[in-house]
Each structure stands twice: as structure tokens, then as C-alpha cells.
């Protein structure tokens, strides 16, 4: 069965699902969070290519659903993520959070199938709204504040995107989603608006500020959608824009360096999201079929292993209540399932052979090699080693090994273990049988990941990166610190300047009082003396004195008239 005439977009299934979550009985909730994304998947995979559903909106002919290979691939992983993330969290997450997470995922599916910029913008903002709710569901004062900052950042990004979309609509008369050239203010605005969601510099800090403050389920869900819809938007709108290569390289090394300095396990993983999205942004910038295939494959693989890593971190947090590397360590003793799943995720993110990262990331770096971008290629190779350093070893080492923290937590509840095992299996399955993923990529794949050459060079690179980790371990002693980032400007410097401004205004105010207002007060005082409520000229006079004064005036007039 294929669907040629749609009556509603696939995202609507999940929106309805999100509305149903708070209405059904608690015991039916896990069924619902699995069933709804499954129905969505079923619909996604029955869509024909092309524009399938249009509507009139504000005078525009908008395309609510346009399907293609790459859109279907992203929508698939979004729906899958909603399913596994919801299943992971249904026992700990609040109803509000489960519902918001599903609505958020619906927004991502909506963006994936948006055929024009207006539809894209609508679902884009829908995501911003519900992702902010997910951050708030962390339930702490810190998450309340982080959620406000997160919301403001995404509303600003949305406004910039909207300015760009309106500009393009006015200049070209078309709101079609197609490859744009960066030749006008409007297209630049669209690029900036999309890059803000991709956590590109200089605003990368919003991600590591907000995601780790969400609940254990929340950060799993958040890791998947916002940045990856931005990658898809870049894929569709700006393939081959050279500037993206440099933006992406910055993100890659920013993520590694900040993760190396970080002490909070979930912030380490948040920085590594920026790092991984950087690889995808570079791939879009290279823009060849191989690189674009690599981006799509890497986004798919990344969502799985990053969710897996955050699930294992979330499981540790649920069981121990701790998230700082300085408090953790030695947990492999009592949390073997979580540790093994975390290690599989860590190997996958490091592109270890026979894991999903190996078959996806190498497409992007081969894309650079085939285009003879020597500098970019060397950077990507160094970064691959760096990923193993900051996420591949650092995360499992400091959480599950290093010193014995004395904590003896059990593995988490069965649903959390099941979700982790499912995604860990997916990482290995895709790694061992790359065709599972390759057959769904947007362009035909003739790339062969497993050659003796590739295996030897990758193992050399990663294992010697591992050696570097253990050699420099004394340099990486964890400290109870955070690292300053661009958020310093709006969390510290901004308020500081504002307080300074207030003091300055206060001073000016005092001066104004002395020089102008106090002297000026004399004038009304003068008036008040005679015309005020008690002034002689404004008093209510007794009739007698009135009569007397009238008599006096008459006498004066009479005498005056007589004299004249």
C-alpha cells in the first residue's frame, strides 16, 4: 500500500498521541509511547516521493508534506527516537514531560516533511516551544532558569529565520525549499537562523547550558531533534556552501576542548553533541554526493549512539543522584548492563570498527579526501582521535572506572535497560551490516567501509589516541569547575553591565534632582502658597467677607466714577 492522497501529515499522529498521553491511564502510557511512533513509522514508510499534501495558509500555497529519501530517513530516526526515548523514561518522567517530548518529536517529523519554508517555520517553532517545556521538566531551579535562557535563544533564532524567509518570499516570490545561494541578506538570515539551532558558534553554549539541566529522560530526548532538524535544513537548503566547512571544523574542536575541561558527565556528552554535529556541518559544506550521504548516515547513527550514551548517563543519575565525575567512579561493579551499553555507545561515537560510527563518519572524511581538501581531511582525522579521547574513553572511564567512589547502585529498571540494549544492538548491527543503513541513503552508495587499509589506519589512530589518554591522565585530574563560554556574556556580563547602568542612572538621577528638579520645585511652591488649597486666593471665603469685599469694590468704582 502506498499513500498518494494524504489527508493529514504524519506529524499529526504524534501530536494527537501527545494529547492522549495525559488522558490515558498510567498503565496504558508505555503502550501509547511505543504505539504512536510505530503508527507514524508505518505512515512514513508508505509515503510516495514528491509533494503529497498542500494547503492555503496566509495567502501562500504551502506544502505540508513533501517526501523524499533523505526526509524519510530523518523522519524515521525521529520517530524511532520518540519511541525508545519514551519507553526509557515512562517510569521516571512526569506526564507533562512524556507529552511534551512526543509533541517535540512531532515537530521534528513535521520539519522533516516540510515542503516549503512556511511549513518548516511553523514546525520549527512548535519544536522550540515543546523542547523548552522538556527542559523545564528537569524540575529544579537550575532547569527553570536554563529553560528560560534556552527558550529566549530559540525565539531569537526563530525571528532571524523568519526575517530570512520573508525576505526570500518577497524577493523571489517562492517559498519552496531548495538549495539557496548566499547572495542576499535574506538567505544569510535563513542560514544564521538554522545554524543557531545547530549550536554553531558563537552561540554553541545554549546546548551545554540547557540539555544537562533537563531530567534523565529529557536530555535523552533533547539530544536528538533540534540539532538534527537543523542539519537536515542545512542539507536541503545549503549543500556545498564552503563556509559550512569552517563553521563545522570550529564546532568539532570546540566540542572536544570543552568536553576535556568538563567535570559534569552530562555536560561532557552535551559538548560532544556539538562536536558530532560539527562533522555533519562539514559534510554539508563539502556537498558531494558521498559527503551528503555521509551526513545523512551520520545523523542517523549519531542519534542512536548519543541517545544511548545519555541513557547510560541518565541511568547512573537516576540510580546515584550524582552527575559529576569527581563524585562517580567504579560503577562497573554493580551496574554492568549500563556500563556495557555506555561503552558500546562510546565506541560507536568514536567510529570504532564494527560500530555504526565507523561506517558513517568515514564517508564524510572520505568526502573531504576525494575533493582533495587536505587541511580539512587532516583536521577530521585529528578530530576522530579527539572524539575517542573526550567521549570514547573519558566518559566511560570517569563514570564506570577510575577510582572507587564507594557507590554501589544497581542497574536501572527493566524498561531503561531494554531501551539501552535495543540501541546498543542497533549500533553494532549497523556497524557490522552497513547495508542495513546504506540502502536507505539519499544517493546510491558504492562506498566500501571495510577495507584492510581502513581498518588498520583507524585502529592505529584510535588506539594511540587511547594511549595518549592514559599517558596524560594526570593532566586530566577532575576539578570542581565549569568553563566560561559565550553564555558568560548573557549570564554574567550582561547582568553586571545592567547593574552598572542602573547605578549610573541612579547617579544621573541624583544630579538632575540637585541641578534642575530642586530649583524647579521652588516655582510650584510659590504657586502653591497663593493658589494651593490653603492659599489665600483659593480658599472658600465666608459670605460675609465676600459681601464686604464686593461692597469695597463697589465703593471704589463709585468713587472712581465720581472722580472722573
Amino acid at each position: 500500500m502506498t499513500i498518494t492522497d494524504l489527508i493529514f501529515p504524519p506529524a499529526f499522529i504524534m501530536i494527537i498521541g501527545a494529547m492522549l498521553v495525559p488522558m490515558v491511564r498510567a498503565s496504558f502510557r508505555p503502550v501509547l509511547v511505543v504505539l504512536v511512533p510505530m503508527l507514524t513509522l508505518l505512515m512514513i514508510w508508505n509515503l510516495d516521493d514528491g509533494v503529497l499534501l498542500t494547503a492555503r495558509f496566509l495567502g501562500y500555497e504551502i506544502q505540508l508534506v513533501e517526501a523524499s529519501n533523505v526526509r524519510r530517513l530523518f523522519a524515521t530516526i525521529f520517530a524511532l527516537m520518540a519511541m525508545v526515548g519514551g519507553f526509557f523514561g515512562f517510569r521516571h518522567a512526569k506526564v507533562t514531560e512524556l507529552s511534551a517530548a512526543m509533541a517535540y518529536a512531532a515537530g521534528a517529523v513535521g520539519v522533516a516533511f516540510a515542503g516549503d519554508l512556511v511549513t518548516l517555520f511553523l514546525f520549527w517553532e512548535f519544536m522550540a516551544l515543546f523542547s523548552t517545556v522538556v527542559v523545564w521538566c528537569g524540575g529544579t531551579e537550575a532547569s527553570r532558569r536554563a529553560g528560560i535562557r534556552y527558550g529566549i535563544m530559540h525565539l531569537i533564532g526563530g525571528i532571524i529565520l523568519k526575517i530570512g524567509i520573508e525576505g526570500v518570499a518577497v524577493q523571489t516570490g517562492s517559498i519552496e525549499i531548495q538549495a539557496l545561494t548566499l547572495n542576499s541578506f535574506a538567505t544569510w538570515m535563513i542560514l544564521i537562523g538554522v545554524l543557531i539551532n545547530a549550536a554553531a558558534p558563537p552561540v554553541s553554549a545554549w546546548l551545554s547550558d540547557a540539555y544537562p539541566e533537563a531530567s534523565p529522560t529529557g536530555s535523552v530526548v533533547l539530544s536528538a531533534f533540534t540539532t538534527k532538524t537543523a542539519v537536515l535544513a542545512l542539507w536541503l537548503l545549503f549543500p556545498g556552501q564552503t563556509i559550512l566547512i569552517w563553521v563545522g571544523l570550529y564546532m568539532i574542536f570546540y566540542g572536544i576542548i570543552y568536553a576535556l575541561m568538563e567535570n559534569d558527565m552530562r555536560r561532557i556528552l552535551a559538548y560532544s553533541i556539538v562536536n558530532q554535529v560539527g562533522f555533519m556541518v562539514v559534510g554539508v559544506g563539502i556537498g558531494t554526493e558521498l559527503a551528503l550521504n555521509g551526513v545523512a548516515a551520520h545523523a542517523f547513527a549519531h542519534i542512536i549512539y548519543k541517545a544511548l550514551l545519555l541513557m547510560s548517563a541518565g541511568a547512573v543519575m537516576v540510580q546515584t543522584g550524582k552527575r559529576k565525575c569527581t563524585d562517580l567512579g567504579g560503577l562497573y561493579r554493580t551496574m554492568p548492563v549500563t556500563a556495557v551499553c555506555g561503552i558500546i555507545g562510546a565506541l560507536a561515537i568514536s567510529a570504532f570498527p564494527y560500530t555504526s560510527g565507523f561506517i558513517s563518519k568515514s564517508m564524510i572524511s572520505s568526502g573531504a579526501a576525494y575533493e582533495e581538501l587536505a587541511f580539512v581531511w587532516y583536521c577530521l582525522v585529528a578530530a576522530s582521535a579527539g572524539v575517542f579521547l573526550h567521549a570514547g574513553i573519558k566518559f566511560p572511564w570517569f563514570v564506570f572506572f577510575q577510582k572507587d567512589s564507594g557507590l554501589r547502585p544497581k542497574d536501572p529498571s527493566w524498561n531503561m535497560q531494554a531501551a539501552m540494549i535495543f540501541f546498543a544492538a542497533a549500533c553494532v548491527l549497523i556497524g557490522v551490516f552497513p547495508q542495513v543503513l546504506y540502502q536507505f541513503l539519499p544517493f546510491a552508495v558504492d562506498y566500501v567501509p571495510y577495507t584492510a587499509d581502513h581498518l588498520v589506519t583507524q585502529l592505529q589512530l584510535l588506539l594511540f589516541a587511547g594511549l595518549a589518554f592514559f599517558v596524560t591522565l594526570p593532566l586530566m585530574k577532575r576539578t570542581l569547575t565549569i568553563s566560561l563560554d559565550a553564555d558568560f556574556f548573557y549570564r554574567r556580563l550582561g547582568p553586571m553591565l545592567w547593574r552598572g547602568f542602573e547605578t549610573l542612572l541612579g547617579g544621573l538621577n541624583g544630579m538632575m534632582h540637585k541641578l534642575i528638579i530642586d530649583p524647579a520645585r521652588l516655582l510650584p511652591q510659590f504657586w502653591m502658597r497663593y493658589h494651593g488649597p490653603d492659599g489665600p486666593l483659593a480658599r472658600t471665603w465666608p459670605t460675609g467677607s465676600m459681601l464686604m469685599w464686593v461692597t469695597v469694590m463697589l465703593v471704589v468704582i463709585l468713587i472712581g466714577a465720581r472722580l472722573l
Binding site: K94, E141, L407, F464, L467, L475, T479, T481
Partner: protein, 117 residues
């Protein structure tokens, strides 16, 4: 600040299904260190660690030696050299760790830095 968060919590408790998350890890068992049960876990015994280092060294050597039997495709100037990936991986990681350490001198702040505002 804590007062404010308490009022948020009270409000949500009254609502019954509010935003406040669970308090995690309350029943997480904790053992007093050093371990009372004598022998440490086999994985952290010095003899095991020594063995692990030996095995790891052998694997490292093997990955380099293997390059002698495999033709490595060369795209640019250095990448086909014998042991290029080993040296490049090690040196670039060393560089990143040292760079992060130095940058940390300027950028690291106590993790309560933003709390008092």
C-alpha cells in the same frame, strides 16, 4: 534561591502532577572506603593492571606492524607514511589535552560560579 525552589515544589506538590522531578539516588548503597572485604575487585588489582598494559602494548605494536602487510592508500603527502595514523593520533591528542589544560587556566571557574546570580 532555595526558598524560591521550595515554593515551586510546594505548588507542584499541591497540583499533584507538577514539573518537579524525582529526587534521584536516595536509596543508592554506599560502602565505606577502604573496602572492608579485603581483596579489591580483580579488575583493579595492580597485577591485572600490569597485565592490561602489556596486552594493550602488544595490540598497539600489532596495529603498526600490520601496516607492513596492507597497502595504505595515500591521498596527500604524509598520510601514507608508515605509522602515520599512530603518530598523528597520539600527537594530536597530546596537543588537544595540553591545549585544554592551558585554556582551562583562563576559562575554568568554580562550578557554583553562576549560582549566586
Amino acid at each position: 534561591m532555595s526558598k524560591q525552589s521550595e515554593t515551586v515544589k510546594q505548588a507542584s506538590d499541591r497540583a499533584g502532577k507538577g514539573l518537579i522531578a524525582n529526587v534521584y539516588g536516595e536509596d543508592c548503597p554506599r560502602v565505606e572506603l577502604p573496602l572492608q572485604d579485603g581483596q579489591p575487585h580483580w579488575l583493579v588489582r595492580p597485577s591485572t593492571i600490569k597485565l592490561l598494559w602489556r596486552v594493550f602494548s602488544i595490540i598497539l605494536a600489532l596495529t603498526v606492524i600490520a601496516q607492513g602487510f596492507v597497502h595504505v592508500h595515500e591521498y596527500f603527502t604524509f598520510d601514507g607514511w608508515f605509522g602515520f595514523n599512530a603518530i598523528f593520533g597520539f600527537v594530536s591528542c597530546l596537543g588537544m589535552v595540553i591545549f585544554a589544560k592551558l585554556l582551562g587556566l583562563f576559562l575554568k571557574r568554580p562550578d557554583t560560579y553562576y549560582d549566586d546570580h
